[in-house]
Amino acid sequence: MSRAQRQKLKWGLIFISPWLAGFIILTLYPMGASLYYSFTDYDVLRPPVWVGAQNYTVFLTQDNLAFTAIYNTLFYAAFSVPLGILVSVTLALLLNARVKGLAVFRGIFFVPSIVPVVASAVLWVWLFSSRSGLINLGLQAIGLPKVAWLSDPAWTKPALIIMSLWSVGGSVVIYLAGLQDIPQSLYEAAMIDGANTWQQVSRITLPLLTPQIFFQLVLGLIGAFQVFAQAFILGSIGGGALGMGSEAGPANSLLFYSLYLYLNAFRFFRMGYASAMAWLLFLITFVSTLIVLRSSRQWVHYGGV
């Protein structure tokens, strides 16, 4: 290595040193420690006791609530992520149609996404209230039966998904910026060839928007697997089955993975068990991201223009 290169290396390391220190203290060490705890029985009061893979096998084969938590989380992710993309791409397409007052409309769609998540959850608890919630009043007005959104286990997750669609505004802004980067000339060429609106959207607009959709899909999945605060607030309404002031919703229908993990760690003090859960969550996140990444070769178009 030449002197100049050594000099560059030295300065490079100096500049990344805050991150490097953080990486070691806040990421590497905790990862190692939690991996170790995941193979132990650890209640914080007494030192960890090695139990081998027991936490993993119990979680995967004997814990009924584990199945519930995984099912609830996958259900939420499977609906909220694709529906979120559908709604936000649709809104962005509408806004991209040379709309007057664009900034106003965009602001209206965006603002709900910055409402603090606890305030928004508290608000939706009221909107979903079965007796006089605005949503049930609306259903009543058009002659539909009322729904026990937060106390009927079948409706709690749909309620949470509806709530998640209210805060897609950030994605709308991202898609809109993506749409505005698509060169006008492509559409002009398509029109000369006689393409109608739908053909233009499906052959030009959507394919060229796939990089943004891909990015939002990955972030959306990672986020959905970790959904916590909203469920915590909505779930404390219907009277959870777990006991001890549970936030898991009626019949544990809002017992999401992160919530179950939190309860194990900080309410039941099963730190080893919770650590094993955390590593399984990492594995699930990693594998899903990998699958989406692999599949992206088939459907994401990069820089075709």
């Binding site: 500049f15 990344i16 805050p18 806040l26 420690a33 900034a103 305030a119």
Partner: protein, 302 residues
């Protein structure tokens, strides 16, 4: 990205509608009708939040629903705020968020400089490690981190930094992978010749960072500040784990506490939600440009 706000985007909707014989104005009317309808759908929850906060109790539960409370119960806010110590919660939130913003802006830009303005061997491989940490769920590090902070005695209101250390100190160690990423992307767009010229003149890397790059990076630093601030205002899990006394609570945790105690008083709940949301909406009106540009920046092609 400035043009995003300046001009209306280009689209072919009207032209293609014409092609198919649909009168231009009918298509436009349909478009605006849809947009107005959807806007109402998005705004009604917020309107309902404010209007519910101002209702006399009986008007909360009547059919048909009351849209404008009569008379508006402004005292609901006063009563809610005696039960909901919002001032104390705001003070705590600022106690956390201001150092967090400072730490994040300083150390994420500093780190990003090392990942973009200096070409050292192995740089991009290390940067891949930075990005890969984005995938790591907080749950994986949460338990050991909690134990570390507890063991060095930084949890609890009587500890140094009033027990806010675990929420503040990490932000001084790189400020998070995503912010480093944002800064780096921005720094890469600054011409290298600028640094080369400064080096020729004998400028040290530290001076180039502080006097040349940072001033140019104001837009991205504004974005990072704004989102870090929102992040602390919003954060739920962190304060839930680390804050042990109600005197330490942030607005988000405080609102949850309020729901726990007075969840059935929807008028008070909505008043408390309104005061929690209002500062953020006000911030949006003042910093709309930074918001929109920042969001756009976070969505750049991966």
């Amino acid at each position: 990205m400035g043009r995003l706000l300046a001009t209306a985007p280009h689209s072919r909707l009207p032209a293609s509608h014409r092609r198919h014989g649909v009168p231009h104005y009918a298509g436009r009317a349909l478009l605006y009708g849809t947009l107005v309808f959807l806007s109402v759908v998005f705004l009604v929850p917020l309107f309902w939040m404010v209007t519910s906060a101002l209702k006399p109790q009986p008007q909360l539960f009547v059919w048909p629903p009351v849209w404008i409370p009569d008379p508006p119960q402004w005292q609901n806010f006063g009563e809610a705020l005696t039960l909901f110590p919002f001032g104390s919660y705001i003070a705590n939130t600022l106690y956390i968020s201001i150092p967090c913003v400072v730490g994040t802006v300083l150390t994420s830009s500093f780190t990003a400089y090392g990942f973009s303005r200096i070409d050292w061997p192995g740089r991009d491989k290390v940067f891949a490690v930075v990005l890969s940490t984005l995938m790591l769920p907080f749950a994986v590090t949460m338990i050991p981190l909690y134990l570390v902070w507890r063991n060095i005695g930084l949890i609890g209101i009587e500890t140094p930094l009033r027990g806010f250390g675990p929420l503040i100190l990490p932000m001084f160690l790189g400020g998070g992978a995503f912010n480093i990423f944002l800064c780096r992307q921005f720094f890469m767009t600054i011409p290298q010749e600028l640094s080369e010229a400064a080096r020729m003149d004998g400028c040290s890397e530290l001076r180039i960072y502080w006097q040349i790059i940072l001033p140019l990076a104001r837009p991205v630093l504004a974005t990072i500040s704004l989102f870090t601030f929102l992040g602390t205002w919003n954060d739920f899990l962190g304060p839930l784990i680390y804050l042990t006394s109600i005197d330490q609570f942030t607005v988000s945790i405080g609102l949850r506490q309020f729901q726990f105690e007075h969840g059935s008083r929807y008028d008070y709940m909505m008043a408390a939600s309104t005061v929690t949301t209002l500062p953020i909406i006000a911030l949006f009106f003042f910093a709309q440009r930074t918001f929109i540009q920042g969001i756009t920046l976070t969505g750049i092609k991966a």
